[in-house]
Subunit: 162 residues, 2 copies
């Protein structure tokens, strides 16, 4: 009987790890890789490309999600599974929530990432602090002028909700 | 004396709000806008483009940060200020932390966004939960096979740290 790798979680995670290693060795960015899978097929691949593309948002998961959504022609990853070589940072976890896949698998942890000097754990801690106590200051301004835009959205009839 | 709008925080926030309104009205996406400013000049503009580009990561702040970094030729926004028409969602706040601007201003709050049915507040709550208790399940897999990639990164000598 022929072995069917396409349904194996380990098979897809190994592809994510391979992308992490190759992207790192080719100097595209940090040691992170991810794939998005739907119906047993890879529909999006990503590796970290922050340094090579001067894009701080080009994390493996974001790159893979953008590619998968482009291939699906949708901003939602219904029924998809994401495999990432490291627990997502807050930015990537936010992206996962907006894309709404079914679930995700991760290999290394945020603590493993912190141990090689990535800020994931630091950013998780910052996000849990009140706006006024964070390292990057955040200040309110002109809420009264921005709220009418939200009200216009609320009553708009033919909007695409996401 | 001529009024110098370029140094006015309100001036830049009004541009972010204008982008939010225009992007919404032109059906590019939700009612959100953002600008990145350096030395009194706008170097990046963004509005939400999730629906029109099928990209769940195309939030106003992410679009503005990517454009600003492209213009600067850097993945860091040293000395920059971000003006966003709404308090950043966790994804965008993560992106801000990775880009490391000096500070940011926001107009509407995450509660205002929740009031018009955006998931910002929901995602903030999810991120603070342990991985095992979240709505989108996350499962560990093959950490032992991914850790050697991190170790290879740790001892690499000519890497670009970000």
């Amino acid at each position: 009987m022929e072995e069917n790798h396409t349904e194996s979680h380990a098979y897809f995670m190994r592809e994510a790890i391979r992308l992490a290693r190759e992207g790192m060795r080719s100097k595209e960015g940090g040691p992170f890789g991810a794939v998005v899978v739907k119906d047993g097929k890879i529909i999006g691949r990503g590796n970290n490309r922050v340094a090579s593309t001067n894009d701080p948002t080009a994390h493996a998961e974001v790159v893979a999600i953008r590619e998968a959504c482009k291939n699906l022609g949708s901003f939602q990853l219904d029924g998809c599974i994401i495999y990432t070589s490291c627990e997502p940072c807050p930015m990537c976890l936010g992206a996962i929530y907006w894309a709404r896949p079914e679930k995700f698998f991760y290999a290394c942890t945020r603590e493993d990432a912190a141990a090689i000097d990535f800020d994931d754990e630091f950013i998780y801690k910052e996000l849990s602090l009140p706006l006024t106590e964070r390292k990057i200051p955040a200040k309110p301004l002109l809420r009264n002028e921005a709220l009418p835009v939200f009200e216009e959205w609320r009553v708009m009839e033919d909007k695409v909700v996401y």
